[in-house]
């Protein structure tokens, strides 16, 4: 069994593989980051964004990543928007990984009034398209694409294709997980969900297959140029960091990409709608008062069994 942890995509990745070569997966994740990072001007993604042309040749991996971003936008009703790179830079997210300048609790005290995020009325992501036949990505020049919102989940999903024959595997890309393999039927993976406010375990579950992802505000917090608190999850409607009243959301889904999309959508939707977003596959909603709300199949089922035989005192 291989159990290896390393840095990838600005966070910590972990591979647990039984019955297959994990080195190929690690190499793939490294290449994935190099080609799709927005923090390296030489990456293929940055070349795409800098191109003055409307039609830009793109590799299958970049096309796949852009397609995943567009799928997430469609799936989320525009809340997980891959065309928010400029507002993200304006908010101060200009480095791959930066230690948080302040705690989430302190940020919540200073944050603006809470409101659910809304889609961008302009919906610029709808102007982007992928042409696999011609090997092109089409978008109006100036519309920059950020695949970071769905990159980790997509990477985990694509990596399992390199694990043919693996008996059991788990691919953890910064907390976005994809697990599977026939051996996991007998020995499912124990998975913990970390509470974004306390750092303690908010929930534990066992999985044999599928994806699970968590989106939260407890990492990548900083002060913007005006001294206000900021984080990396933007409200597409305002282009500013979203303070919705939800500080964390965990989603289960058949794939890590869908789980990541659902988790972000739930967080951006606010406490009133988050549970509905997660209801299909299940998940957790963490409100800013610290309450953890299990949703769907994660919700405890209370079964009261009253035996027919009644004993007398």
């Amino acid at each position: 069994m291989t159990d290896v942890t390393f840095r990838s995509m600005g966070c910590e990745a972990r591979l647990i593989v039984e019955g297959a070569d994990a080195d190929r997966v690690r190499a793939f994740l490294t290449a994935f980051e190099q080609r799709l990072t927005r923090f390296d001007d030489a990456s293929e993604l940055c070349v795409l964004n800098a191109s003055p042309d409307a039609d830009v040749p793109a590799s299958p991996l970049l096309r796949r990543a852009v397609r995943a971003g567009l799928w997430a936008a469609e799936r989320s009703g525009g809340l997980v928007d891959p065309t928010l790179l400029a507002p993200l830079r304006a908010a101060g997210y200009v480095r791959s990984h930066r230690p948080s300048d302040l705690t989430l609790t302190a940020a919540l005290r200073e944050a603006p009034p809470r409101s659910p995020a809304t889609p961008d009325p302009a919906a610029r992501w709808r102007t982007v398209s992928v042409d696999d036949t011609a090997g092109l990505i089409r978008r109006p020049p100036g519309v920059e694409i950020d695949t970071g919102g769905t990159g980790k989940g997509l990477a985990a999903d694509l990596a399992i294709r390199l694990l043919g024959g693996a008996d059991r595997y788990a691919i953890d890309c910064g907390g976005d997980l994809r697990v599977g393999g026939p051996g996991a039927l007998d020995r499912p993976f124990d998975i913990r969900v970390r509470h974004p406010l306390s750092g303690e375990i908010a929930h534990e579950l066992r999985m044999t297959a599928g994806g699970i992802a968590t989106s939260g505000l407890d990492v990548r917090l900083w002060r913007d140029h005006s001294g206000g608190v900021a984080h990396h999850l933007l409200d597409p409607g305002t282009g500013r960091p979203a303070w919705t009243g939800v500080v964390g959301a965990t989603a289960l889904a058949p794939t890590a990409l869908e789980a990541e999309t659902l988790a972000k959508t739930a967080l951006l939707s606010g406490p009133a709608r988050a549970a509905r977003v997660l209801s299909l596959h299940g998940g957790l909603v963490v409100r800013e008062d610290g309450d953890v709300v299990p949703v769907g199949c994660l919700r405890p089922q209370l079964i009261v069994h009253v035996p027919r035989q009644v004993t007398t005192a």
Partner: protein
């Protein structure tokens, strides 16, 4: 019209106390003999009511997580339950140590 003479204060006080003590003594006697008028009905009901029944209630909390696999994969139910079945007997070789639990966290 003749006016009745007022009783003496001492007579009134003594008479009142005597009446109170008499009634009090009667009540004490009745209570000590088990014939409490206030509890009489309840006691009678107790005597006729069936013995109280004790209902045993068991609460089982079971959480099931079902994840549907994409097409092409084997459909596998994912289950979280409060009780985990014991693993099958180990083969001759010692089983590999279980890895540390995975953590889903903000990234």
């Amino acid at each position: 019209m003749t006016r009745r003479p007022l009783p003496r204060a001492r007579v009134v006080v003594i008479g009142t106390l005597a009446l109170f003590l008499t009634v009090f003594a009667l009540l004490v006697f009745q209570l000590r003999s088990g014939r409490d008028p206030a509890l009489g009905r309840v006691a009678a009901a107790r005597a006729t009511a069936p013995p109280p029944k004790r209902v045993l209630v068991r609460k089982l909390i079971v959480t099931r997580v079902v994840v549907h696999l994409p097409e092409g994969d084997t459909v596998v139910p994912v289950v979280r339950q409060t009780t985990v079945p014991a693993p099958a007997p180990a083969p001759a070789a010692a089983p590999a140590p279980a890895p540390a639990p995975l953590t889903s966290r903000s990234s």
